[in-house]
């Protein structure tokens, strides 16, 4: 019974923080992007335009709810719910500090990857159920992209698992606390694995240069073409949450999670997550996107064999130099 209460209490707490952060980031990103583009960004609504996020969300909530005539209504409604659910659900196994963790699953890494796989289905549904050609093209493309990048993602995540010898996320962090070089050491499997993981995470959360499902200059709105109001908001929110939670996962698996001097663990974890999160948006506002076939070629030709080699390298290191970990 205690598990039930624990999960619920931390669920409410963690999700409130995650949602508030992504909500505030609506304002933050607009300011951030504006500064990169030598603009001011929102300044009208509230001090420094801070209430812009509230205004944006309220506007989206008020929108009329339109369902295309020949759409598959049930699946059309299910898709955004599933997408938001999967993105938020991953937060369950992220250890924000030794104590702040909703569920210390012994197969936490698999849990994260499994929910990520479910997101793929949500995206496909969004594209398919609209009965819109742009949405369908966006859906097919992004499913192909998501499943392709899942392979390097899974294999790169295996590197810290091998180093720490456990599938539990908090075990991996705990192992890194003992090794202050984090999972980035040994450098050969560690650093490239982090790079591949981060890249694959960008691809899974559909951020530029991997934002194929949206690709609004080609596919108008991609999978979200036909969505309005709260359903569009859920898709939109899911992307932000996916990025935020993905950053947290990367911080926990590779950057030592709560490990750090001078400050409490929670602060370190939050700081590491936010640094990764903001850098995702820095990349987003600096680069143009790839073409979908280039993305797939890059994944299958380079990232897949590289991540396989990294897994073997990690295993070799663990076997040969267990004392140098």
């Amino acid at each position: 019974m205690s598990g039930l209460v624990h999960g619920a209490v931390y669920g409410v707490l963690i999700l409130a923080v995650v949602l508030t952060t992504s909500g505030l980031w609506i304002w933050g990103e607009r300011k951030f992007a504006a500064r990169l583009q030598t603009r001011l960004g929102p300044t009208i609504v509230g001090p420094f335009g801070l209430l812009q996020a509230v205004a944006d969300v309220l506007k989206l909530l008020q929108k009329e709810d339109i369902i295309p005539a020949q759409a598959d209504r049930a699946l059309f409604n299910l898709a955004p719910v599933l997408a938001a659910f999967c993105a938020l659900g991953v937060a369950a196994v992220i250890p924000f500090s030794p104590d702040v963790i909703a569920s210390d699953l012994d197969v936490g890494v698999l849990y994260i990857l499994g929910l990520g796989a479910l997101t793929t289905i949500a995206i496909f549904l969004g594209g398919w159920a609209s009965n819109n050609k742009f949405a369908l093209l966006g859906g097919m493309r992004s499913v192909a992209q998501a499943i392709s990048y899942e392979i390097p993602l899974v294999l790169a995540a295996m590197v810290p698992v091998i180093l720490a010898g456990s599938l539990s996320v908090s075990d991996i962090v705990r192992w890194q606390v003992g090794h202050h070089m984090f999972a980035l050491w040994p450098i050969v499997p560690g650093l490239p694995a982090f790079g591949i993981f981060f890249m694959a995470m960008l691809a899974e959360s559909n951020r530029i240069p991997f934002d194929i499902p949206e690709a609004e200059s080609e596919l108008v709105g991609g999978i979200t073409t036909e969505y309005t109001g709260i359903k569009f908001t859920l898709f939109y929110m899911a992307e932000y949450v996916h990025t935020l939670v993905g950053s947290a996962v990367a911080a926990a698996l590779f950057l030592g999670g709560w490990d750090g001097p001078f400050a409490p663990g929670l602060h370190w974890m939050v700081a590491k997550t936010l640094v990764l999160f903001v850098s995702v948006y820095w990349i987003r506002w600096s680069l143009v996107r790839f073409r979908s076939d280039q993305l797939l070629t890059m994944c299958w030709r380079y990232l897949v064999p590289a991540s396989v080699l990294l897994v073997l390298a990690a295993a070799l290191w663990v076997q040969l130099f267990p004392e140098f970990l």
């Binding site: 699946l75 012994d106 698999l110 849990y111 499994g114 796989a117 289905i121 499913v143 499943i147």
Partner: protein, 190 residues
């Protein structure tokens, strides 16, 4: 008691979604109900303490196989709204098959000694036995068994996967053969 109720609910969902897989008039819906069944099975695995299997079930079956089937559906049929004609064959034949399958599985379950089944490896290096006591017992047990007792099957599996890859490539290339490349297209039309 709670466990019993939980199991009841999960089993009922599994049964219901399985029926919907068969009865659904829309192929994509059927595939998605299959996904529900598979997730439900993952929950069952989790209830039995096989958390690794539960994770694999979601990752592989829901994420992979369902996606594959969805793509398969999109690929193989010319469809208007993807409606499926009424189930082919006689329902009795299907019922018979199901009954036989159930009998086989039930017999297998009855014959195996579940009460005393080893959760952790019974023999192995002391380090493994120590690990077995940890929370990850099943995962590590699987890992150990896979690479010691069942190593031959493990290696044969890779050959199976290889065969599958080659088969897929060959089939896809044959399809490609029918399509004209850009130059051929121009020549054919002029």
């Amino acid at each position: 008691m709670t466990v019993a109720i939980g199991f009841g609910v999960v089993a009922a969902i599994a049964l219901l979604s399985a029926i919907l897989v068969v009865r659904s008039p829309n192929l994509v819906h059927a595939v998605l109900w299959l996904g529900v069944t598979l997730i439900d099975t993952a929950v069952l695995y989790g209830m039995l303490g096989a958390s690794f299997l539960a994770g694999v079930q979601v990752l592989l079956y829901v994420g992979g196989v369902v996606t594959l089937m969805v793509f398969g559906v999109m690929l193989t049929r010319r469809h208007d709204g993807l409606s499926v004609p009424a189930a082919s064959g006689s329902p009795w034949r299907g019922a018979l098959t199901a009954a036989v399958l159930f009998g086989v599985i039930a017999a297998a379950v009855m014959r195996s000694d579940l009460e005393h089944a080893p959760v952790a490896p019974t023999a192995g290096p002391p380090a493994v036995e120590a690990l077995a006591a940890s929370s990850q017992a099943t995962t590590q047990a699987i890992g150990f068994e896979l690479l010691s007792t069942h190593v031959l099957a493990f290696e044969v599996l890779s050959l199976l996967l290889l065969a599958a890859i080659i088969g897929a490539v060959v089939i896809a290339r044959r399809r490609d053969h029918g399509a004209l490349d850009q130059n051929a297209r121009t020549e054919a039309s002029s």
